[in-house]
């Protein structure tokens, strides 16, 4: 397939439909990506603040599902908090996820360690894997959606446009060229 071809009117229409259909997904994806980028940009400041707060032993107690108790710290992303506790070897930090389900919900340690900066870096790195999973799933859903709406039509350009859009949101790279978008404004 010619990589530099323009989309046909049908492909443009399919793209617009898919964009509307997956609007909520795209919106949430962008918001959550921005949270991750903020965390990565402010990692040192967050780490320093968390370390200072931990030395003062402030924060309400949180008991995680493994039975350990942590002191509640700052919110890193939606439903995830940086917590700390005093362990035998000194201060320990953890990214704790709190999923609000019907009763008490899930409270789970995602990762932990004595170095707050390392805990934050590991957490951010793991979140990139989550975004990759999310991106791949949305791309597959778009592929299914346009495949069913426009059977026997080549809608590769539409699917790829979504994939590029989502990948760009994760990487936070500067805008790419029109050729890389294959003609569809994303």
């Amino acid at each position: 397939m010619n990589y530099y071809e323009r989309p046909t009117p049908l492909q443009e229409a399919a793209y617009a439909e898919a964009r509307q259909h997956f609007g909520e997904h795209l919106k949430q994806f962008k918001v959550e990506c921005e949270s991750l980028h903020n965390l990565e940009r402010n990692l040192t400041v967050t780490a320093n603040d968390a370390f200072k707060a931990a030395q003062q032993s402030s924060g309400r107690l949180v008991r995680t599902d493994d039975g350990t108790e942590w002191q509640h710290g700052v919110e890193l992303m939606k439903n995830v908090f940086l917590c700390h506790r005093r362990a035998a070897g000194g201060l320990e930090f953890a990214a704790v996820e709190s999923v609000p389900l019907k009763t008490h919900g899930i409270k789970e340690v995602l990762n932990s360690g004595p170095h707050v900066g390392e805990v934050l870096r590991t957490f951010a790195s793991d979140q990139r894997k989550v975004f990759k999973l999310w991106k791949d799933d949305v791309t597959a859903q778009v592929n299914e959606y346009v495949g069913e709406k426009y059977p026997h039509q080549d809608m590769t350009i539409v699917t790829e446009s979504f994939e590029i859009k989502l990948a760009r949101a994760i990487s936070e790279r500067p805008a790419q060229t029109q050729n890389q978008n294959r003609g569809i404004r994303i």
């Binding site: 949430q28 939606k78 439903n79 609000p100 389900l101 019907k102 995602l110 791309t139 597959a140 859903q141």
Partner: protein, 72 residues
Amino acid sequence: MPTTPESENQTAAPPAERLAYSVQEAADLLGINYYTMYRLIQRQKLKTCRVLRGKLLVPRTELLQLLQVELR
């Protein structure tokens, strides 16, 4: 127009239970956002399967299990 008992029964028949849900549907059922769902999947708190085009599906049994674990 009067309805026969047979047609009433047909109307009242419960829909067949789905075996699996998309991530979006599963998130709505659990009342959590998509991102949290994908985090649970990434950590294998929820196991998924992939259909032909690669879309993730969450089996109903996984959702029930998650809630049962939670309700313990």
